[in-house]
């Protein structure tokens, strides 16, 4: 089998994508298992990129080979490739939803609706095997797309952009997405797609694979600073904030400390309803929480303390058997005080 030079390049790019995915799958086995849904969805995305890479490599390797079975084989493999891409964007959407809402129930509620357009596209792919309504394969084993194929591509692009847009929207609303960066995922993926469109080479799988590397970096950072007991940041996050402050990359004007003898998960839930969205709530261990705020004056802090106290009172009235105690204190950084010193002295 002699490959044309552009096919050699494409196959080689797919091999690099597969190498990246092999490493990610192999090394990600040690990841934190507390967020099983995240890990599973990520693994499915990895497998989709592997399927995409393998199918694409096969299709490029078959170009101009003129085997009698070639067009049929390419048609089937190309169908599998398109299905893998559809599943990839669908799981990307699920992944971002879970990152934003941190809720299995939310995913259970929305995933059937999200799957409707994908399943319609899958159905078209099956129909295409017999009718060629999406794409056909020429005698030279090249894929020839119909206008309907671009509608399916638009669906894939919509899923991708919708997920990105949601992350940006909820981040602006103050959702806890400090370590979930979508830009490093978007840039290589879009570049890979553009190379695919503008050149005769296939770089989409490589772009996705690089995007998944950066997504994995974000996931690890997120897990490292997550406290599974309260769903808030853990003590390591505070160490990270201190390191950032030392580098001049983080500010902190106010610190509020909450302490309870009761279940910290209950207090964490009460606090999350009262504290501002831009505040970082850190579970230091036991019943101790630290809230870092970049804004607000003394009166705002006192009002916040009052709101939390009221919430605790309401809870105690509703649950007389499980009353929780609360002790609060606040610290305000002086204008001339160093951020690092302020954090180290008061947390």
């Amino acid at each position: 089998m002699i490959l044309a030079e552009e096919a050699v390049v494409s196959v080689y790019l797919e091999v690099m994508a597969l190498l990246i995915m092999l490493g990610l799958i192999l090394l990600s086995r040690r990841i934190d298992l507390r967020r099983k849904l995240d890990s599973r969805v990520f693994l499915i995305m990895c497998l989709c990129v592997v399927a995409d890479g393998l199918c694409s490599a096969f299709c490029y390797a078959m170009h101009y080979q003129n085997y009698p079975w070639g067009p049929t084989a390419v048609l089937i493999v190309r169908t599998l490739q398109e299905a893998a891409i559809l599943l990839l964007v669908y799981h990307w959407s699920l992944f971002t939803n879970h990152k934003i809402h941190h809720s299995r129930e939310h995913i259970d509620r929305i995933y059937p609706y999200l799957f409707i357009p994908i399943s319609a596209c899958m159905l078209f792919l099956v129909v295409n095997l017999f009718t060629g309504i999406l794409f056909t394969i020429s005698a030279d084993d090249l894929c020839e797309a119909t206008p309907l194929y671009y509608v399916m591509t638009a669906v894939e692009v919509f899923y991708f952009l919708q997920a990105v847009g949601m992350v940006l929207y909820y981040r602006r609303k103050g959702a806890r997405l400090h370590f979930f960066h979508v830009t490093p995922v978007i840039i290589p993926t879009v570049i890979g797609a553009l190379v695919n469109i503008l050149t005769p080479y296939s770089a989409a799988a490589l772009g996705c694979a690089i995007g998944l590397i950066f997504l994995y970096f974000s996931m690890i950072a997120d897990w490292r600073f997550d406290d599974p007991e309260t769903e808030q940041y853990n003590r390591e996050y505070l160490l990270c904030v201190r390191a950032l402050a030392r580098d001049g990359r983080r500010d902190c004007r106010n610190i509020l400390i909450f302490e309870t003898d009761a279940d910290p998960a209950v207090l964490a839930e009460l606090l999350t309803h009262e504290i501002p969205r831009d505040g970082d709530l850190i579970h230091m261990g036991g019943g101790r929480f630290v809230l870092l705020l970049d804004q607000g004056d003394r009166s705002a802090l006192e009002l916040l303390e009052l709101l939390v106290a009221e919430a605790v009172d309401e809870y105690n009235e509703a649950h007389p058997q499980e009353e929780i105690s609360l002790k609060t204190e606040h610290h305000i950084r002086r204008a001339d005080e160093n951020v690092t010193a302020f954090l180290e002295a008061n947390t």
Binding site: E5, V15, I213, F214, R224, A243
Partner: protein
């Protein structure tokens, strides 16, 4: 001087894409690891040095392949300089990697500081040969049509990296056995690429992917030594 894209062959274009991918991975990692770098430990410094070395190698490599077959007179000289820098970066990366895995396996920075000159001896010899090649062209040269050619002693470039590679395997095994498997897969892909897709340069991306794997493995560690850093 802008490269003439009409004379860029498919394989050269492939190399430029692959090098571009390496640059993407490396720049992303440089940004991503900035917080950890502030710890200032020896392995952090070595890791950063590897990122920068590979970035220089990828940029030089990409530019060389873009300029090949160009009709501009300075192109041949630029390719020679670029390839000299690339070859030196290739050797330097191997040395840095050997020191890095030694530190990760033994955590003995004192011994490295004391003995690094001995470790670096094969690399220094390679640097001298690569520099000498600029004037004699025994490893590689560029002809009057701006086409790159391998010289009779081209394989000398690989001697020091191969030596460091062999020395590394024991230390990589001590860090994580899965890394040995990935290390061998990458060497196989690098060699396989050299045989089946000889026109495509694979070194910078293989190094970049390898660095990404090491970073993932390091970050997967439950504490990653934060308590020492803050």
């Amino acid at each position: 001087m802008l490269p003439d894209l009409s004379v860029v062959s498919h394989l050269n274009a492939g190399t430029v894409i692959v090098d571009g991918a390496a640059v993407l991975i490396l720049v992303g990692m440089i940004i991503h690891t900035s917080l950890y770098r502030s710890r200032g430990r020896l392995d952090d410094k070595l890791f950063f040095a590897m990122l920068i070395t590979d970035l220089v190698a990828a940029v030089c490599d990409g530019c060389n392949y873009l300029l090949e077959n160009s009709t501009d007179p300075p192109a041949a000289r630029l390719i020679m300089i670029g390839d000299t820098v690339f070859s030196a970066a290739f050797v330097l990366f191997s040395l840095l990697f050997a020191l890095f895995v030694y530190y990760r396996a033994h955590h003995d920075s004192e011994r490295i500081r004391k003995n690094w000159l001995y470790y670096a001896l094969p690399a220094f010899l390679s640097f001298a040969m690569i520099l000498g090649n600029l004037f004699a062209g025994y490893m590689f040269y560029v002809d009057e049509n701006t086409v790159y050619h391998y010289g009779d002693w081209y394989d000398l470039i690989f001697v020091a990296p191969a030596l460091y590679g062999v020395l590394c395997i024991v230390n990589i095994w001590r860090i994580d056995k899965r890394l040995v498997f990935l290390f061998l897969v990458m060497i196989a892909i690098r060699i396989g690429g050299g045989i089946f897709a000889r026109g495509i340069s694979t070194t910078p991306i293989v190094f970049a992917v390898w660095l990404a794997f090491i970073h993932i493995l390091t970050m997967n560690h439950p504490f990653y030594g934060e308590e020492e850093s803050v």
